[in-house]
Structure formats: structure tokens, C-alpha cells
């Protein structure tokens, strides 16, 4: 076996023999299931739920394999394996998703068991990436590195992974169940649009506890998660979540797929009644059996290891010199680099959104380059963000120029993180069997229109999010500008919303007016941006300007020609 050596990486959970045996057994189980399907022993109806439990979907062109990247954290070795699988079994590229996973689009059923076997060699799998189970728990892409971090969410996300993977009560939930955890002051994980959002924090005594939000979700009926408990002590973390899931399992609707998510249950029962049900269940569960002992938390935390940061001055003279000498690099630092908790280090985001590119797509060569750069500059560790970018979380400020130079050479040096070119887009009708319209061509056209990096920086933070259908994988509801693809008698149209917000002040965007054609959509986005720039006060965000001036000027300008 060729496993990752414990302690080699900065912040990736190290599997033990139990973890490895479990994943290997699941591979062999699926290998037998595929053989039985191909021989006709299993019908498609019998086989479909089994393949979905292993992340294998049937899409427009082929099977799609969704590989779990637990809470978005990867080792360089795992990234190299993904690159190798992309080259060997797919068409040399993969797609990073809004759930911090990776999808391959051209997979053969008969080769899938071998792919899963290769993934298991590097402690990876495709479990909990599909089906009506607790899905891959997501968290802040800057976890363990951000200067504003209060609690390391990885530890609790991993506890949930272990707790949910084989939990018999949660194998057949009414619908899928998505949990996001945030442990910093700023919400970078969009927790209130998840079935359960967890906000990890500390009290005055420094003890760790959690605020729980429930009933958030996008899709056909978007809802913002409601705060159901302000403080759950660490030892009750699992018990409280189990209580929520039990209430959902008991009352969630299984008769209507459109009403099966917990958001509908919370909405129909009402926040007060739902909370009372959870509290009642929690009171029953609370006790030794469900107590999350500090020793367990400490052991999980230990298995993540941790980088040994050098004692560095807080400001790097080399970085300052490089910025002064190179305008493009200075812009990249200003836009893509975030403050690190350790002096002299920085968090670098690698944009997968070049102008005119496909959001979230990376070639095998690019994956290998990022893996090599992670080894060289960031303790061999990589993160995937829900915004479909990659992150090298622990880079010495002294090394940023060398890192950027290498990224630039591979088309990965785009300075647009959080700006208008950093568009979130689902695969849309180019790949997805559920989509009504294409998302990617519109994202490409918009990013080309706003390709000038200086103009993007002038516009400032402005999130565009595009979904190709009402399932909202592209999070369009919470985009400052959201775009939803719709099918009108076989023709693709795009409905624009404005005013969405994915942070803790979550807001669902409002529909601006009638849907527009693909051709009109790019001009409409430009019109919205122009109205914003013409009306904004100094330093005012898009959402603040919108709140002050209202929808009128935007609507008027976009539909002026109609």
C-alpha cells in the first residue's frame, strides 16, 4: 500500500488502518455491484441507488464521478492522483465544484471500480457525494490559516464525516443533507444556505461552542437558515446535530421530492415548533453515549498535524520590493492574497477563472503544477474553495513572487478573486442532465467583457453566480448578481436577480425583470455595473448602493431598449 505518511502534510487528516480498511471494502463492494449490473444480475432500477452512493451519476455525455474532497482539503499527493485519473480515465481535466469536490465528466462505468481503487490508495473516495445522505461537510477554505479564525472548523467537519459515514439512521434520509461549518468572524462558507449551518465560536472563558442554523437551502424554494440555538457546548456538538437529523428523519416529507428538504419542514412547522422538537429530542439524547469527549476532539485535532511556521518578521521586504517593481504582481497580491495568522506568511488563492475560461475547470497539468507548488511553498497542502478556486494556505510572503511567476506561466495567475470575473457557474447544459440552459458560455462571455484587471479592481468586490436550472448548484439566489438559465420553448433565456448575499447577512436576490437572451445578458450585466459605478459613494459595496438607490435605476437601464 502506498499511503500518505502521518505528519507529512500541514493540515490533512491522516487515515488510520480502520479508515483504510473501510474505504477499501467499499471499493470491493462496488466492484462486485458493477459486475452484477454488467452481467444483468442487477437491473438499472436496482443499481442506480448503489452507483449514486459511490458518487457516480449518468450525465449528458457519459458517467460523471464526483470525488469527495472532505471539507475541501487535499494533499499534493492526492492532487497528483486526481491529475493522473483525469489523464488516464477521463479527458485530461476535472471540474472543481461549489461543494468543494471534484467531478470528472467522461467516466466509464466499467472502469469506475479501478478508479475508486486508485483513489483509495491516497485515502480518497466518492462516498457521500450523492444520494439522500449527509453530504461532504464544507467549511472555510482558509481554515487553520486565516487571521480572523476563532475555531478550526476542520476538526468538527472530520468528526461529522466519521459520525455520519456509517450511521444507519442517516443512510436513507428524506433527501440529501448539506452541512457547512464556519469558525471565523467572516462567513466564507455560506452557512445559512445549507440544511444546517454551524458557526463555531468561543465564549468569554475561551470554551468552544456552536451556533446552529437550520432550514437553509437554495433550489426551487430558497430559504435562509434560521438560528435555532445560539450556543451548544462542544461536548454536545454531535448530540445536537443528531437531534436535528432525527427530527428531520421523522417529519421530513418522503412523498414529494420538491418538499423533502429540511428547509420545507422548518418553514412548514415554523422556527419555534421545529426548535422545540429539536430541543425535546436533544434532551432525550444528551448524556454519556452522545458526549463528544475532549480526548476525542484532541485526537482528531492531532491527526491533522500542523505546519511548523518559522519565526518571520510580519512584513517581508522581498515582497514589498517585488510589488513595487511589478504592477501585475502587486495587483495579484492585493486581490488574491489574504492575511495569515502567522507573521510573515500569507494565504494565496489560485483563481480557476481566467478571462474566457470555464469556471472551476483545471487540466491534469495544472493540477500537477499546483501540487508541485504546494510542495515547494505550502507544506504540500491545497484547498478547494466553494467559489471553485484553489488555495495555497501557508505561503511565506518572501515566496509569493516566485509562486505567482510559476502560476502566471500556466495560466493560473489571474487576479480576480472576489471580483466580477470570479464567477461561480455550474456545468449547466453543456454537461448536466438536469440543466435547462448553458451556464458556462455566459460565464465566459461576461469574464471576457470584464477581462481588464484594472477595471475589475475598480469595480471592486462583486459576485456573479450562474445556475443552469432551478436546482441552483451555481448559487444564483445569493449572487450580488444572480443569473438563472431557463428554457423557453427550446430557447435558452436568462433571468437576472440582484441583491443576493451569501454571508451571514444572507439575502436572496430579487428578480430584476423578464428573462433576457444570452446575447442580451452580457449587456445587461454591464448596464447593472454602470448604474452601480454611477451611483456608488466612496467605498460603498454593490449591495449597499442597491439598498440605498433601490432596484429602479438598475431595472430602468437594463430594460431601456425593450
Amino acid at each position: 500500500m502506498n499511503h500518505i505518511a502521518p505528519g507529512r502534510n500541514a493540515g490533512v487528516y491522516n487515515y488510520d488502518e480502520i479508515d483504510r480498511r473501510f474505504v477499501s471494502e467499499r471499493v470491493e463492494q462496488f466492484r462486485a455491484q458493477v459486475a452484477r449490473r454488467l452481467s444483468g444480475e442487477l437491473t438499472e432500477e436496482e443499481f442506480k441507488p448503489l452507483r449514486l452512493m459511490n458518487g457516480l451519476y449518468l450525465q449528458l455525455h457519459a458517467y460523471m464521478l464526483r470525488i469527495a474532497v472532505p471539507y475541501g482539503v487535499l494533499t499534493s499527493r492526492q492532487m497528483r492522483k486526481l491529475a493522473e485519473i483525469g489523464r488516464k480515465y477521463d479527458k485530461g481535466y476535472g471540474h472543481f465544484t461549489t461543494r468543494q469536490n471534484l467531478q470528472f465528466n467522461w467516466i466509464k462505468l466499467e472502469e469506475t471500480p479501478e478508479i475508486l481503487n486508485e483513489l483509495a490508495e491516497v485515502d480518497m473516495h466518492a462516498l457521500q457525494t450523492s444520494g439522500n445522505c449527509v453530504r461532504n461537510v464544507t467549511t472555510d477554505q482558509f481554515v487553520g490559516a486565516a487571521k480572523d479564525e476563532v475555531v478550526d472548523g476542520r476538526v468538527y467537519a472530520e468528526i461529522l464525516r466519521q459520525w455520519t459515514t456509517l450511521h444507519p439512521e442517516f443512510t436513507y434520509l428524506p433527501r440529501k443533507f448539506k452541512i457547512a461549518i464556519m469558525g471565523s468572524e467572516k462567513d466564507r462558507a455560506a452557512i445559512r444556505i445549507h440544511d444546517v449551518g454551524v458557526f463555531a465560536k468561543r465564549n468569554d472563558k475561551g470554551e468552544i461552542g456552536f451556533a446552529f442554523y437550520a432550514g437553509g437551502g437554495l433550489g426551487r424554494s430558497p430559504f435562509i437558515g434560521k438560528l435555532i440555538r445560539e450556543w451548544v457546548p462542544e461536548e454536545d456538538f454531535v448530540a445536537y446535530l443528531e437531534a436535528i437529523l432525527r427530527v428531520y428523519n421523522q417529519y421530513g416529507r418522503r412523498d414529494n421530492i420538491y418538499k423533502a428538504r429540511i428547509k420545507i419542514l422548518v418553514h412548514e412547522l415554523g422556527q419555534e415548533k421545529f426548535t422545540a422538537e429539536v430541543e425535546e429530542e436533544f434532551a432525550r439524547l444528551r448524556g454519556p453515549k452522545y458526549r463528544l469527549a475532549p480526548e476525542i476532539v484532541a485526537e482528531i485535532r492531532r491527526r491533522f498535524g500542523g505546519p511548523s511556521f518559522e519565526d518571520l518578521p510580519p512584513v517581508s521586504a522581498a515582497l514589498e520590493q517585488a510589488k513595487a517593481a511589478n504592477e501585475a504582481f502587486a495587483r495579484w497580491v492585493a486581490v488574491n492574497v489574504t492575511e495569515h495568522k502567522a507573521p510573515g506568511y500569507a494565504v494565496a488563492t489560485v483563481s480557476l477563472k481566467p478571462a474566457g475560461g470555464i469556471p472551476g475547470d483545471a487540466t491534469s497539468e495544472q493540477m500537477e503544477l499546483v501540487a508541485a507548488l504546494a510542495d515547494q511553498y505550502s507544506f504540500g497542502e491545497i484547498r478547494v474553495s466553494h467559489a471553485q478556486n484553489l488555495v495555497l494556505a501557508h505561503v511565506k510572503q518572501d515566496d509569493l513572487f516566485a509562486l505567482w511567476t510559476a502560476l502566471e506561466g500556466a495560466g493560473l495567475g489571474t487576479a480576480n478573486v472576489g471580483l466580477i470575473g470570479d464567477i461561480i457557474a455550474c456545468p449547466g447544459l453543456d454537461y448536466c442532465a438536469l440543466a435547462n440552459a448553458r451556464s458556462i458560455p455566459l460565464a465566459q462571455a461576461i469574464s471576457e467583457r470584464f477581462a481588464d484587471p484594472a477595471r475589475q479592481q475598480l469595480i471592486g468586490e462583486l459576485g456573479i453566480k450562474i445556475s443552469g436550472c432551478i436546482n441552483a448548484c451555481g448559487h444564483h439566489h445569493v449572487g450580488a448578481i444572480g443569473i438563472l438559465g431557463v428554457d423557453k420553448k427550446g430557447v435558452e433565456f436568462y433571468q437576472i436577480t440582484i441583491g443576493g448575499d451569501p454571508t451571514l447577512t444572507t439575502a436572496i436576490g430579487d428578480i430584476l425583470g423578464p428573462a433576457v437572451t444570452e446575447h442580451e445578458a452580457v449587456d445587461a450585466i454591464e448596464a447593472i455595473v454602470e448604474v452601480y459605478l454611477a451611483n456608488r459613494h466612496d467605498g460603498e459595496s454593490f449591495l449597499a448602493t442597491l439598498k440605498r438607490v433601490g432596484h429602479g435605476p438598475f431595472k430602468e437601464r437594463v430594460y431601456a431598449a425593450h
Partner: protein, 100 residues
Amino acid sequence: MALLKAITANRLRDGEVVFLKAEGVWVERLDEAALFEDAAVADTALAAAKAQAERDQYGVDIYAFDLTLKDGRPDPVKARERIRALGPSVRTDLGKQAAA
């Protein structure tokens, strides 16, 4: 323009998009697919294709879709079927269109 129908599936073992050419015969290119002018005949062929594909473990997700003839070649009415027959519009180097 008169609507025609063709029958499509994904091949079980590799997911490849295939089209029914004749009873029990599937092809990878829409140009070679059987085109049905009569909806009732298409329905009968679809039922037979489903039974055959399940019996032989050949194809899944089998259905009929609308198309017309454009310059003598089959042209799906819906963008979804055009994209299935060709490949992703954003990666013309991939899919069936790449080998065209």
C-alpha cells in the same frame, strides 16, 4: 417543418451516447440513426428498444426526442439533444463533434 423522432440511450458500460439504427442495432452518430415520421411507430420502436437494451444490458435512460431535417441532416429541436449528439458547446475538441 415536419417533426421527426429518433431514439437515444447511454451505453451501459461506458455511458457513451448512442442512437437506435434498427432493431437491436445502436450507433454512436446521429447521422446514422433511424428517423421516425410516425409517432406511433416511434413509440413501438421505443418500447422494443427498452426491452432489448435491458435484456442485453446494453443501454440505459432510453427515450425518443424530436428533430427536423436541416440540409438533409438530422437536427435536434432542443439544445439538450444537440449537445448530446455533438458534445459540450464549450469544448468543441471533445465528444462526437471532435471526431466529425
